[in-house]
């Protein structure tokens, strides 16, 4: 009974991603029937192409769900994609390490990235990038502290100089009082 239940859970897990896809596809299909435009004769309209694509997605994803529920586990993959392989036959020890996952690192890195994008408009590119670079290196299990802070500082200065002075990209300066700090950094680098 336990193994039947477990197998059912595994099958549901396997079908979960496809399930989300099909629900989303149906929602967008409904939206595609409601595009506003001036009808001209028997022309197909702006909704035809998206509906065609969404129809394909719905049909194929339903097939995937049915197969996942009937056969169980992950959807069949014939040969692992060449583009998805990270390191092939790189030695047993390395392969074991590559297979290990650290979900906490993923969550930390993800949260840091979201925070970076959110804060860049508030505290400015220079400050945000400096802390992000250092934080990301720590999240990546790098522990040479001097190298982390020096490379983050040098890297930030280099990027600010390159993109603002050389390439003329107007990166976010942030809002007061951080804006003032950013502009002070720029003036120290000779960037007007």
């Amino acid at each position: 009974m336990k193994s039947v239940k477990k197998s059912l859970m595994e099958r549901l897990k396997g079908a979960a991603f496809s399930g989300i896809l099909v629900v989303a596809a149906i929602y967008f299909f409904n939206l595609a029937t409601q595009f506003e435009y001036s009808q001209r004769g028997e022309q197909l309209g702006p909704g035809f192409w998206p509906k065609l694509l969404l129809g394909i997605i719905i049909i194929l994803t339903l097939v995937d769900i049915v197969l996942a529920l009937c056969k169980g586990g992950k959807p069949a993959t014939e040969v692992s994609s060449a583009e998805n392989n990270e390191v092939l036959e790189a030695g047993e020890g390395l392969q074991d390490e590559v297979q290990k996952r650290y979900p906490k690192l993923l969550i930390i890195g993800g949260l840091m990235t979201v925070a970076y994008v959110y804060l860049i408009g508030i505290i400015g590119f220079a400050l945000c990038t400096f802390f992000y670079l250092a934080g990301f290196m720590y999240a990546g299990r790098f522990r040479r502290h001097v190298m982390i802070w020096v490379s983050s500082l040098v890297g930030t200065v280099f990027l600010v100089f390159l993109f603002i002075k050389v390439v003329y990209v107007s990166l976010p300066t942030g809002i007061p009082p951080f804006e003032g700090l950013t502009l002070m950094i720029y003036s120290l680098l000779g960037v007007n």
Partner: protein, 505 residues
């Protein structure tokens, strides 16, 4: 004669101080991108794109093309020396290049790789120069059914030539095409999936999708694995020795076959160097004279893979410049560079800007020569790049991605979208949905829809027009046949296995 005179002036333009310097920088960056396992050549081209904004268009395209060319070669070093493929292109080199190195023939393996890269690249570039202008003249007569057929071929090729579950590849492709519909429709002016927001009214830029799903997803996936750094073996004295004339002559067939395969596959929209490399290796393993030795350190394995990979660059530039349709991921970024500089590649570019086109062609030849010199002397220092901690390089890659995403439209929303696509790309890989079709769909989607819908309007919804016009008909039928063969292949393989097992019993 006209092509020749244009070509010579293109070479002269490439040799001007600024352009030549940028070319050399591009070759070095491409080799570095090729060597670093966490950084693909597509990512390398994407990351440099923002730096090209203040440049002259020709110089911008030249530096990006140089990175592309060198990236198809750089990853070979680490495949041969350390069994670490710098690029997916170089996975087949693990099967013959590394064993050859283990037999004590490191220098020869590197020599074969360099010869294959330069030879394949030059031959494909010659084809590119000879074929482009005549093809562009023919392309001027193309109408929307022909454009749709070519794009359809590209869209189906990413499914046919890829590996993995076909259903999921088609879903991924359809998702990419769907992303391209967001915004204001070109033909009817209707707002689609904009949810009333200004940023979505401008649509989703394919560069955002590319950077997110390729670069950001790759980095966060590697972060999840803890940025494992490989313990590099002591490679000893690293040098390059070219094969002898006799050795080269005995493998001329492999070289020519691989060049043809690489050039043709490179020219097919959606396929690229990775597909070219694998297909060429596969063909040689199946039909080559020395197929029994392949997989054990045979030079044929190196030549087949590397020649096709570099030849695909010349092939990919043909549809980009003559039709405005990218032949690969890198050429998709190069298309983005053209558009950012206000130039639409296509057949008319040979009339409006022939100097630019031939300067780009000239840069391919000069770039290959520069690559030969740097590749010959700089193998060891390039491999030192692998000593850089991956956490450090990845942190900078992420920031460069954000800058790249921001500079597309100077809007932070594009960066948010890039992060979202990074997560999408990560989950797609986790659930075995291939990313390449999604990206290709996002790139080719606008062209595909515009060509299809315009055809329907022009020909009163008569869908058979795609099959009744000769050129589009042939291309459409080829595409459909290749899909059917791909679908039938597993069934035929299963029947063959069953027949073999019943014979065995």
């Amino acid at each position: 004669m006209e092509i020749l005179s244009h070509f010579v002036s293109g070479i002269m333009q490439t040799l001007s101080p600024v352009t030549f310097s940028l070319l050399v920088i591009g070759i070095i960056l491409g080799l570095i991108a090729g060597v670093l396992p966490g950084l693909t050549v597509v990512m390398g081209v994407i990351l440099i794109l923002p730096f090209t904004y203040p440049m002259d268009t020709t110089n911008a395209i030249i530096i990006l093309t140089a990175i592309y060319i060198a990236g198809t070669y750089g990853g070979a070093f680490t495949s041969i020396l350390f069994k670490i493929p710098g690029e997916p292109i170089h996975v087949p080199l693990l099967w013959d290049g590394y064993p050859m190195a283990r037999k004590g023939q490191v220098a020869k393996a590197l020599g074969w790789t360099l010869y294959a890269a330069i030879g394949g690249g030059l031959l494909a570039a010659l084809v590119m120069v000879s074929v482009s202008e005549p093809f562009a003249k023919v392309a001027l007569s193309f109408s929307t059914p022909e454009y749709f057929a070519i794009v359809f071929l590209g869209l189906t090729s990413v499914i046919v030539l890829g590996t993995g579950n076909i259903r999921q590849a088609v879903v991924s492709l359809a998702l990419g095409l769907l992303l391209a519909t967001v915004g204001v429709d070109d033909i009817y002016g209707a707002q689609r999936f904009t949810f009333g927001t200004a940023i979505l009214r401008d649509g989703i830029d394919y560069l955002t999708v590319m950077v997110g799903t390729y670069a950001v997803a790759e980095v966060i996936s590697r972060l999840e694995h803890g940025f494992v750094s490989p313990n590099l073996e002591q490679a000893g004295k690293i040098k390059t020795t070219f094969p002898t004339f006799k050795e080269y002559r005995s493998r001329i067939g492999v070289f020519l076959r691989s060049t043809v395969i690489g050039t043709i596959i490179g020219a097919v929209p959606g396929a690229g160097a990775t597909v070219a490399s694998f297909v060429s290796y596969g063909v040689e393993k199946q039909y080559g004279k020395n197929r029994d030795e392949m997989g054990k350190g045979a030079p044929e394995g190196i030549v087949a893979c590397q020649t096709a990979a570099t030849a695909s660059v010349g092939g990919a530039l043909v549809p980009l410049l003559t039709l405005g349709i990218p032949g690969s991921g890198c050429t998709a970024v190069i298309l983005g560079a053209f558009l950012l500089h206000g130039i639409q590649p296509g057949p008319q570019i040979f009339i409006t800007s022939p100097d630019m086109v031939y300067a780009i062609y000239g840069s391919v030849f000069v770039g290959l020569a520069v690559m030969a010199v740097i590749g010959y002397f700089a193998v060891k220092p390039l491999c030192r790049v692998l000593d850089a901690p991956e956490a450090l390089t990845s942190a900078f890659i992420m920031v460069l991605c954000f800058i790249g995403g921001f500079t597309i439209r100077n809007n932070i929303t594009d960066v948010w979208m890039m992060v979202i696509f990074g997560l999408v790309g990560y989950f797609m890989e986790r659930y075995h949905y291939p990313i390449a079709p999604l990206v290709l769909g996002a790139i080719l989607g606008p062209i595909a829809e515009r060509a299809f819908m315009t055809t329907m309007i022009s020909f009163s919804n008569d869908w058979t027009i795609f099959f009744t016009r000769p050129i589009s008909g042939v291309i459409m039928i080829l595409s459909i046949v290749s899909i059917l063969l791909t679908l039938a292949a597993p069934i035929l393989r299963k029947r063959k296995r069953q027949a073999q097992s019943s014979v065995g019993q």
